[in-house]
């Protein structure tokens, strides 16, 4: 149960980083990555995964 970021599509805009309620997102080698250990898919916290809702590139923050 976790999300991932498709690195080849990430524009490194950083929008996802602050909206994650679990601080699961960080920058690595230019792009952003999700630590699957911390990611809860926002279950019980929000109606939709926050990273996917804010990301400007469709289908970039997706289930693993």
């Amino acid at each position: 149960m976790a999300y991932k970021i498709i690195a080849s599509q990430c524009t490194a805009c950083s929008a996802c980083e602050p909206v994650c309620p679990n601080a699961a997102i960080s920058q690595k080698k230019g792009v952003f990555v999700i630590n699957p250990v911390d990611c809860t898919e926002c279950e019980g916290q929000y109606d939709e995964p926050q990273c996917a809702a804010v990301c400007p590139v469709d289908n970039t923050c997706v289930p693993r």
């Binding site: 524009t11 805009c13 929008a15 602050p18 909206v19 929000y46 939709e48 926050q50 809702a53 804010v54």
Partner: protein
């Protein structure tokens, strides 16, 4: 660049001379409006006569808020804010925010610390750099921590620099107190609609209160937030400029409504910009063949909105890391790599002040020259209006070679005065990829609505081609002030038409340059 007065000449200014300059300044406070239509090209288009003194104080050195100042003062943007909280159909987030920047441009992202360093370096090299803006590459207020940290650092090291920011407005209302705290005195909001039915064609979604909203709901929230933010800015005494992107067939007529809505909420300036749309930018509009307006469509809409509101026509849709006078870009001189090479940067507040005083004196001189020319205009009777294209590097003078011009400034001249009404970019054509003939053709298309083009110098070949296209190439006013020269030319033009030597003909439309810009 437009070094009107070289920096080194400053070192030689004695304090008593400086005092004298200050006195001259005090004698002609600000720049007067020049009668006629009552709206000369001074100030945003207005001068202190129809502007409260405290507002004039804020805008007089701001190149983006004052048309007059944009010939003399420079601005810089730092790209510290990459994230955005909405999606616009004219934006591809691989590039800079298209609200403020031209599409297809990628700026070098900086951390707040790097940004402060860059500001210092630029301010020490370009003494007329008076304004620092944060306009992306995403939305400044979708990155509040980075944006405000940058302001904090800069106000510490360079307290004389004015701060401004641009935003799509979604996050604005709650942040107005912060903006006030950091002494940001200018804010630009991009407002393209006040009707969700129009809005849903421009914004596919927004991210608000932990949720992605789509369609009409998204547009409704966005317009409410934008207008609320504008009202709060107005009541906090922060100057608000409104940007609108003109999208033919979607919001072109509607922008008259937008103009009324923002005017009634205290917006200081309205800037209608053309949509720049190319398939290669990969934006929704670009890929779907949505066209941008022509030069005359844009001007007609700006004219229709003018009324008693200041319209801004000198916006260059600068990139999020632009440096220099509007219309020029020196960002390549101040890349991150070059900044990090320098160890010590000295910030000389006194030298900057002295330089700016010289600029101010030159400005007064220019106004006086124009007033004199206008006084003589009183005897001229004509309802003719002509457009004149001008090759200039800044300083309000005709000081650029035709072949080197990256843009032409456009002035509308009539017995009411010479009014700056826009600019036409031509940079790509003279620099890359095109043959000389082709380059000339594109320049002619860009200024096809003009009767004359003023240059410092021009070669024989382009001269003939311009004449063949019905545009009068004029180098007689080389290095003179633009407005004064335009008025003198106009008087002569009217006289020649009257004597039968010349037949006044209406000119056609012109093309707004599309595509990514080098600068």
């Amino acid at each position: 660049m437009s070094q009107i007065i070289s920096l080194s000449s400053l070192q030689t200014i004695r304090p008593e001379v400086r005092e004298q300059m200050k006195q001259t300044l005090a004698d002609h406070q600000g720049c007067g409006t020049s009668g006629g239509s009552g709206k000369s090209s001074c100030g945003s288009s207005a001068g202190p006569a129809d502007m409260a003194p405290e507002i004039w104080e804020k805008v007089k050195n701001h190149p983006c808020y004052s048309e007059e100042a944009h010939h003399h003062y420079a601005r810089m943007h730092v790209a510290v804010a990459p994230a955005c909280n909405i999606q616009c159909n004219y934006c591809n987030r691989k590039y800079d925010c298209a609200n403020e920047s031209r599409p297809g441009v990628v700026s070098e992202k900086l951390t707040p610390e790097q940004a402060a360093r860059k500001v210092l370096a630029v301010a020490s090299t370009i003494p007329q750099m008076t304004v620092l803006g944060i306009a992306g590459p995403g939305d400044s207020l979708a990155n509040p921590a980075k944006t405000f940290e940058t302001f904090e650092r800069i106000s510490k090291v360079a307290p004389d620099i004015k701060l401004c920011l641009s935003t799509n407005g979604l996050a604005l209302p709650e942040l107005v107190p912060m903006i006030k705290n950091y002494n940001v005195d200018h804010v630009t909001i991009t407002i393209n609609m006040v009707d969700p039915e129009v809005g849903e064609q421009i914004y596919p979604w927004i991210f608000y209160k932990n949720k992605r909203w789509k369609g009409r709901d998204a547009a409704k929230i966005l317009t409410e937030r934008q207008l609320e933010g504008l009202e709060l800015l107005t009541s906090a005494g922060i100057l608000a400029k409104i940007n609108s992107v003109m999208i033919p067939g979607i919001n072109d007529q509607h922008l008259i409504e937008v103009n009324k809505a923002v005017k009634s909420r205290g917006a200081f300036l309205h800037n209608i910009m053309p949509l720049i749309s190319e398939a290669e930018h990969g934006t929704y509009f670009g890929l779907n063949g949505q066209r941008g307006p022509t030069a005359q469509e844009l001007k007609a809409l700006q004219d229709a909105c003018e009324g008693d509101m200041n319209m801004m026509r000198h916006c260059r849709q600068c990139r999020a890391d632009a440096v220099g006078l509007l219309g020029e870009d020196r960002s390549a001189e101040f890349t991150l790599e070059k900044l990090m090479e320098k160890t010590e940067i000295e910030y000389d507040l006194e030298a900057r002040k002295a330089y700016q005083e010289l600029v101010e004196a030159e400005r007064q001189d220019k106004v006086a020259a124009r007033e004199k020319e206008m006084a003589e205009m009183a005897s001229v009777e004509s309802d003719t209006k002509i457009l004149i294209a001008v090759a200039t590097k800044g300083g309000g003078r005709i000081n650029e070679h035709f072949g080197h011009a990256k843009e032409f400034q456009i002035y509308e001249v009539s017995t009411a005065g010479a009014k700056f009404v826009g600019h036409r970019r031509v940079d790509l054509y003279c620099q890359g990829g095109y043959g000389e003939e082709e380059g000339l053709d594109t320049i002619i298309r860009a200024i096809n609505d003009c009767t004359a083009v003023f240059v410092a110098k021009i070669g024989g070949c382009p001269k003939n081609d311009l004449q063949a296209a019905g545009i009068d190439p004029v180098d007689a006013y080389a290095f003179e002030y633009i407005e004064q020269s335009a008025l003198a030319y106009f008087k002569d033009y009217v006289a020649r038409v009257e004597s039968g030597e010349l037949v006044h003909t209406a000119r056609g439309d012109a093309q707004i340059r599309q595509g990514a810009f080098a600068a």
